[in-house]
């Protein structure tokens, strides 16, 4: 022990310091190793998991959202195309319908005109026929009275009346 006396404060006053220091430190080391560090590391691991889990969840949500957006866009485009088609169809149909109605109207008008014409023709020929006989009779009778003799049953006079009427008719025909 004597040579160590010269060390002064570099020599432990009591060896108890050395052993107690080591023992206390060993106890702290043990507690920290068995309890503290595992607790902290567990929290850190959970935190890392929570953060990366949250990120994954957010990514999934983003993917889902963009998929939904794509779908909506596609649906919208479909709807637009369909609307355009319907509009075109309607336009075409309307045009067709209009043309048809026009045609029908034209046809109807033509038919009406034709009917009227035929009727008029028939009436005219009936009037002509009755007038011919009536005017012939009247004219013959008038002529008989004028010349003083009856021309009623005379074949010749009837012929001349006919001729006269034909002439009249041929004159009036171009005017018709």
């Amino acid at each position: 022990m004597l040579p160590l006396e010269g060390l002064g404060p570099l020599l432990p006053e009591h060896l108890s310091e050395l052993f107690v220091g080591i023992a206390l430190f060993a106890i702290i080391w043990f507690v920290v190793a068995k309890k503290i560090v595992p607790l902290f590391e567990k929290t850190y691991a959970e935190r890392t998991a929570a953060i990366s889990g949250g990120l994954e969840k957010a990514e999934a949500a983003q993917r889902e959202a963009s998929a939904a957006l794509e779908e909506y866009k596609a649906q919208l485009a479909d709807a637009r195309a369909e609307a355009a088609k319907i509009r075109d169809d309607a336009r075409t149909q309307a045009a067709e319908l209009a043309a048809e109605i026009k045609q029908q109207a034209t046809d109807e008008a033509a038919r009406l005109v034709e009917t009227a014409r035929v009727q008029l023709e028939a009436e005219r020929s009936a009037v002509v026929r009755s007038l011919r006989s009536e005017i012939g009779g009247l004219a013959t009778e008038l002529a008989g009275k004028i010349v003083g003799e009856s021309l009623a049953d005379d074949e010749r006079s009837r012929r001349s009346v006919e001729r006269f009427l034909d002439e009249l008719e041929s004159q009036s025909a171009p005017a018709k």
Binding site: P12, G21, L24, I28
Partner: protein, 292 residues
Amino acid sequence: MHPLRGLLVPLEGGGEFVPPNTYSFNSRPLFPSAGWEECHPHEGAAPASCADFVPTWTDAWLTNHVCQAAIAALVVIGFWLWVARNQRIVPGKRQFIGEWLYDFIRNGIARDVLGEEYRKYLPYLVALFTFILVNNLFGEFFLFMFPTFSKIGFPYGLAIMTFLLYNAAGIRKYGFGTYFKKMVLPPGVPWYVTWLIIPLEFLSNFIVRPFTLALRLFANLFAGHLVILVFVLGGAWLLEQKDSLFYNFSGGVSIAFSFAIFALEIFIGALQAYIFTVLTAQYVHSAIAEEH
């Protein structure tokens, strides 16, 4: 009989100033045995009758400084248990304080120095840093006003632990022969200087490392505490002198200046805890590193 009586005695005397010296760092038993007081006077030599004084085991083992170290250990363990319980993913204030300190050691020291293998040595470094830090701060706080590690026995103990740790780490990884060869003979040394390098490396890696660790920590705190004692005790002695205004004035300046020294000591205490921990990590790293 206050444990700090040894520090306060010069004030009581009021006469001749007794400067603080190494005896100011002596421990006192919490329960001194009969005769201990007489044989451990604060000044001068012990009486001749003390030649055959045999201290009991409580005189050596239950001293104020041993007790202080035990309280420091309780504080450290209590602190870590307090901040580590009921941990949540989103930390509260209490957990945030714990994580701040834990991350400082984990990321700032262990992972920086040790790289991927830091996890295995992290508990040692956490325990080491906080134990030294609390003991060093005891020099400026609480009831003690005495840095535990200015008693050389404690730094020796921690240095022995670190010595065992880094050698065990190296031996476990490489086996004794390979590890020893790696430590005494760095690769790439020309053959003609091996006779010089091997003793130097052996001395450096196995002797100087633990001693410098212990001495650096001890000397910083010992010197710092001694400086504080000089300023506080000297200042108080000067303040007590009745017949000199100059003495009293310089005593006041000295006391005021001691506050600056206290602040410096807080910084040095934290710094020395950091250095001890970083060097321990560094030694472990050099023991397990692939390339020397």
